[in-house]
């Protein structure tokens, strides 16, 4: 059976697993963004926390994904459901690039612009929303782009603990020693990663163009 025949026969399952994969990725990215951007901003205001937060984030990144799933398994509420566990682990991986780029992006804003903004009577909240975040957005999006690609890739491993996604095909294919099955998982995951990369890249350019 050729690869295309395999795809045609299993198209429904491929679509289902792709949606499952996407669901895991979207949830983890949403959590990573909701935590990572405020955390990155906090680091610019409280530089003393920087080493601690970025350091511990770095440590998380060095833990192999399969091991991280294993380590989170005994955690009471998290370990109870595979998808919960997977989303948490993926969010942890996505966190570092988002926190780091938010921190860098906000720190790189021209100090003169900030001083004048404050000197003219903008409140710290206004400075954040009107100056720091808009000017940091291209850099923050760069972090989101990296995080999205990492998450889509690592999410394939989640099948090992039974939370589904395209990794199902990959693990099944490995067990069956059948390349068609492996590719049926690997190719959609790769396409998803490329699309996410291109889409966020486009967004970055759109935001940057009129403003520079």
């Amino acid at each position: 059976m050729s690869f295309l025949q395999f795809v045609a026969k299993h198209r429904l399952e491929i679509v289902t697993l792709t949606i499952e994969h996407l669901w895991l990725v979207c949830w983890s990215m949403a959590i990573a963004l909701a935590v990572g951007i405020p955390l990155g901003i906090l680091l610019t205001k409280r530089p003393r926390l920087r080493a601690l937060v970025l350091g511990s984030n770095n440590v998380i990144q060095t833990i192999p994904s399969l091991a991280l799933f294993g380590l989170l398994l005994p955690v009471p509420w998290l370990g109870a459901r595979a998808d919960r566990l997977t989303i948490t682990a993926l969010a942890l991986y996505a966190l570092l690039p988002i926190v780091r780029n938010t921190y860098t992006g906000v720190r790189e804003v021209d100090p003169t612009v900030l001083e004048v903004a404050t000197g003219m009577g903008l409140t710290p909240t206004q400075v954040l929303w009107q100056v720091e975040l808009p000017l940091a957005t291209p850099v923050i999006l760069g972090g989101v782009r990296v995080a999205a690609v990492i998450t889509i890739g690592v999410a394939t491993v989640a099948a090992a603990i039974g939370s589904g996604g395209l990794g199902e095909f990959i693990f099944r294919g490995l067990a069956m020693v059948d390349n068609n099955v492996i590719l049926a998982g690997a190719i959609p995951a790769a396409i998803m990663a490329l699309l996410a990369d291109a889409a966020i890249g486009l967004l970055q350019r759109l935001i940057r163009r009129p403003r520079r």
Partner: protein, 250 residues
């Protein structure tokens, strides 16, 4: 405006130190009269910029008191105080992601003026600094020349019609011809508006052109305050040295 003293801005025994053994200002006494332009003239590192930043509360005095409209800066709500004080610096610091119109509208918008009033005010303020609204409103700062950028910076500082204006070598980075032009225009403009201006420079010619009075800042305190004619006539050694730099005589 309720004035509790005859001065618009007053420094009394102001010290400012970044650390225990590093003082930038020591025992600075200085007063600015309403509607005058006071120039702070001094060398790099003399404390001119620090003095300016104490007025709009970007810095807080280590000891002593800075009074604005008779009230200590520490008693002011910092946001309210700063919105009464226009601020223009050499690097301009326009928001690069805002158009000229949005940049100039900054303080009026923060003050929640209604849209029509903001629009009219932006047009008027741009006209004051010699820029035509239709031509410049939609441009971004990187599409402007250095001189135009500084004009927009000045318009932004003036937009909410503040009674005070702080200027930190605003024309310092411009080419000589543009600089001379802006200096002349500013001299007329500040008189017409009646704004109380504190202007920092190290350029004697600029000080003499713009200043009603000139305060000589040396080593973190005011070495003397002179009217234009006093400055030109003074036999003080530093002042003579300054006059030499631009070959000016009495």
């Amino acid at each position: 405006m309720t004035l509790h003293s005859e001065f618009a801005i007053e420094f009394t025994h102001v010290d400012y130190a970044v650390s225990a053994d590093h003082a930038l200002l020591s025992d600075l006494n200085l007063s600015v009269r309403p509607h005058e332009t006071l120039v702070l003239l001094g060398q790099s590192g003399s404390g001119k910029t620090t003095t300016l930043k104490l007025i709009n509360l970007l810095l807080v005095p280590t000891s002593g008191e800075v009074r604005v409209e008779g009230r200590s800066t520490l008693e002011w709500n910092p946001i309210r105080l700063r919105r009464r004080i226009g601020y223009a610096v050499q690097e301009v610091g326009l928001f690069p992601h805002y158009t000229v119109e949005e940049n100039v509208a900054l303080v009026p918008k923060a003050e929640k003026w209604d849209k029509r009033r903001i629009r009219t005010r932006v047009e008027d303020t741009l006209a004051l600094v010699g820029l035509q609204f239709p031509e410049f409103a939609d441009r971004y700062p990187h599409e402007l020349s250095g001189g135009q950028r500084q004009r927009v910076g000045l318009a932004r500082a003036l937009a909410a019609n503040p009674p005070f204006l702080l200027m930190d070598e605003p024309f310092g980075a411009l080419d000589p011809i543009t600089r001379a032009q802006l200096q002349r225009e500013f001299a007329t403009l500040s008189k017409r508006l009646g704004t109380t201006v504190v202007f920092v420079t190290h350029d004697v010619a600029e000080a003499l052109l713009l200043g009603d009075r000139i305060a000589l800042i040396e080593n973190g305190s005011a070495a003397g305050v002179y009217s234009r004619s006093e400055f030109l006539a003074s036999s003080d050694e530093t002042i003579r040295a300054y006059r030499e730099t631009s070959r000016l005589s009495a």
